[in-house]
C-alpha cells in the first residue's frame, strides 16, 4: 500500500508564548518546537504498522521551511521510508491542505493519515480539506483501525462514545489516541534516517479567505481564593452567589 502521513511542527506545550509586529505575528524565537504528538504517536505509527502488515511505503509530507527538517528526520527515524517537504512556510490550513492535495494527486495513495489536530491552533481542519480537495472519504479522530480484511473498519471518537465505520481505500483519516502506541526512535533508525530521501518541492500559488488579524492575551485570573477545608458550606455559597455556576 502507498501510505502518506502529514506531519506538522508545533511549539512544545510548555513553551512561553509571545507575539511580535504589534501582536500580529507569533514570535518563535527561543521556542522549542516538536513534531505534533498526534502526528508522531498515532498517525505515523499506525501507518508504519499498516505497511508492516500489508507491505508498501510510508511517505511523510510537511509544508514548511527548512527549519522543519529536524522533525521530518525524526519521522524518518521512527520508520517512514521517504519524505517530501513543500518548501514554503505554512500560511493557513487551506494553503497547507492545497499543497498536500497537489502532491497527493500525482501519487494515488491508498490511505492518507493526519493527526487529530495540531496542538497549537487545534483546528482539525487540514484533514477534512485534503479529503474534499481529493474527493475522498474522511474519517476524523479514529481511535482504532481494523485492517485485517480487504475493507477497513475504523472506530471514530464521537461525543460520549464511538462510531464504527466501514469503508474502502482510498480515504483520508485523522488519528487520535488509541490508534497506535508511541514508538521511540532507536540509534539504528536515527542513522538510517540520514540516508533516506527528503525531497524538497516548490509550493503552488494558493488563496484563502481566512487570516489571523491579531493575537490577544487572555484576561488574567483574579488569583485563587483559598477556602477553609472545614467550611465547605462557604464554598457552596461562593459557587452559588459569587461565581453563579450552581
Amino acid at each position: 500500500m502507498k501510505l502518506l502521513v502529514c506531519i506538522s511542527k508545533t511549539p512544545d506545550t510548555t513553551a512561553k508564548i509571545s507575539f511580535k509586529d504589534d501582536n500580529t505575528q507569533f514570535n518563535g524565537d527561543g521556542v522549542n518546537f516538536i513534531l505534533n504528538p498526534y502526528d508522531e504517536w498515532y498517525a505515523l505509527v499506525r501507518a508504519i504498522e499498516l505497511k508492516e502488515q500489508k507491505g508498501g511505503t510510508v511517505t511523510v509530507i510537511n509544508v514548511g521551511d527548512s527549519s522543519n527538517d529536524i522533525i521530518i528526520r525524526k519521522a524518518l527515524a521512527i520508520g517512514a521510508d521517504e519524505a517530501v517537504r513543500v518548501d514554503q512556510p505554512a500560511k493557513s490550513s487551506i494553503d497547507t491542505a492545497k499543497q498536500i492535495a497537489e502532491y497527493a494527486k500525482s501519487q494515488s495513495f491508498d490511505v492518507i493519515f493526519l493527526g487529530k489536530e495540531t496542538i497549537d491552533y487545534n483546528g482539525a481542519e487540514v484533514g477534512a480539506m485534503v479529503a474534499e480537495l481529493l474527493e475522498l472519504p474522511y474519517v476524523s479522530f479514529a481511535s482504532n483501525m481494523d485492517s485485517s480484511a480487504e475493507h477497513f473498519v475504523l472506530t471514530r471518537d464521537i461525543e460520549g462514545g464511538v462510531e464504527e465505520i466501514k469503508l474502502n481505500a482510498p480515504f483520508v483519516v485523522s488519528a487520535a489516541k488509541g490508534m497506535a502506541e508511541q514508538r521511540i526512535p532507536n540509534m539504528r533508525g536515527i542513522m538510517m534516517a540520514k540516508r533516506k530521501p527528503l525531497n524538497v518541492i516548490p509550493g503552488i500559488e494558493t488563496s484563502s479567505h481566512t487570516g489571523v488579524k491579531s493575537f490577544t492575551l487572555p484576561a488574567e485570573k483574579d488569583g485563587v481564593k483559598m477556602i477553609d477545608p472545614d467550611n465547605m458550606d462557604e464554598l457552596v455559597r461562593l459557587l452559588k452567589e459569587e461565581a453563579k455556576v450552581l
Binding site: P11, T13, F19, Y38, I94, A97, I119, D120, Y121, N122, E125, V126, G127, A128, M129, A131, E132, P137, Y138, V139, S140, F141, D157, I158, E159, G160, G161, V162, E163, E164, I165, L167, F171, K177, S208, H209, T210, G211, K213, S214, F215, T216, L217, P218, K221, D222, V224, K225, M226, P229, M232, D233, L235, V236, R237, L239, K240, A243, V245, L246
Partner: protein
Amino acid sequence: MSVLIIAESQNNTIRSASNEAVFYGKKVAESLGTTCAALVIGEASGAASLGKYGADKVLQVDTGGKGFDSQAYTQIIKQVAQQESASVIVLMHSSTGKSLAGRLAIAMDAGLLSGATALPQIDGSSMIVSKTVFSGKAIANYELTGDVKVISVMGNSLKPELIGEEKTPNSLTLDLPTFNTEVLGVKTQSGTVPLPEAELVVSAGRGMKGPENWGIIEELANELQATTACSRPVADIGWRPHHEHVGQTGVAIRPNLYIAIGISGAIQHLAGVNNSKVIVVINKDPEAPFFKAADYGICADLFDVVPKLTAALQKAK
C-alpha cells in the same frame, strides 16, 4: 443572504448541544439583518424545538436511514446552502462539525473559523471571530472574507436562550449524493452528558491512589449532576475509561465549573481545561501548580474534604 445552521442528531434524536449552535446562528443573522434556518440531516425527533432557540425555519433532508458521512453531508449542505443563499454556515465544534467544517470551506470556497468562542464582529463584508490558541495561552482574532463564511462554535461559548417557538420541519427533496462509508454502529454511554458538552465536571487524578477510591468522586458528581473526567495517567493505567481523559492529548473542555481533585495541574492537563469558567482545586500540596489556575482552592486531604463538599451541597439544596 441568510444563515444556515447545521443541527446534529445522535440515535435519531436532536442533540441538545445543537441549541447553542442555533442560538449563535440566530444572533449572527440578527446582526446581519437576515433570517436563519436550521438544517437537520436524517431522521431526528425533536427537530421542531430548534425553533425555540431561534431558528426561523427548520429544514430536514431524508437520507434513507444512512449514517454520517462527511463527504455526502458536505454535498447535501452545499445544495441547501445554495438554495437558501446562505452567506454564513454555523456548525458545532464537535466531532461531526470538525469533520465537515474544513470540507465545507473547500467546497464553498469559504472563509473558515473553527472553534469560535464568541460571536463575530461584523465589519462590512468581512467578519472578525476569535478562538483560543496555544493551549489557552492566547486568543487569535481571525478575519474571514469571501462570500460564504463557515464558523464552528466551541461548546459553552454562549448560553442558549428560549427566544422563539417550535417550527414544524420542512422536508427538502434533493439529489442525494453517494455515501462511500457505512456506519456499522454507534456506541454511546447513556444517562450522562458527554464531556465536551458538560456544564459541570468533576475530575480526579493520581492523588486518588487507586480506582477503588472513586466512589467519593461519583457521589460528588451525582450530587451535582456533573460528568466525571480524569487526568491522563489515571486513564493510561486503566483506573478510568479513556473517554474521561481531559487535557492536551485528551478531550478539551470548557464547562462552567471544573472541580479538580488530586490533580497536580501540569501544563498538558491545563491545556484542555483552563478555559473552564470557574475552577475549583482540591489538593493537599500548597505548591501544586493547579492553584495558580484556580478560582477557588482547598488545600487539604481529598479523602477528607470531598465527602464534606458532597454533604454541604446536599444540605444547600
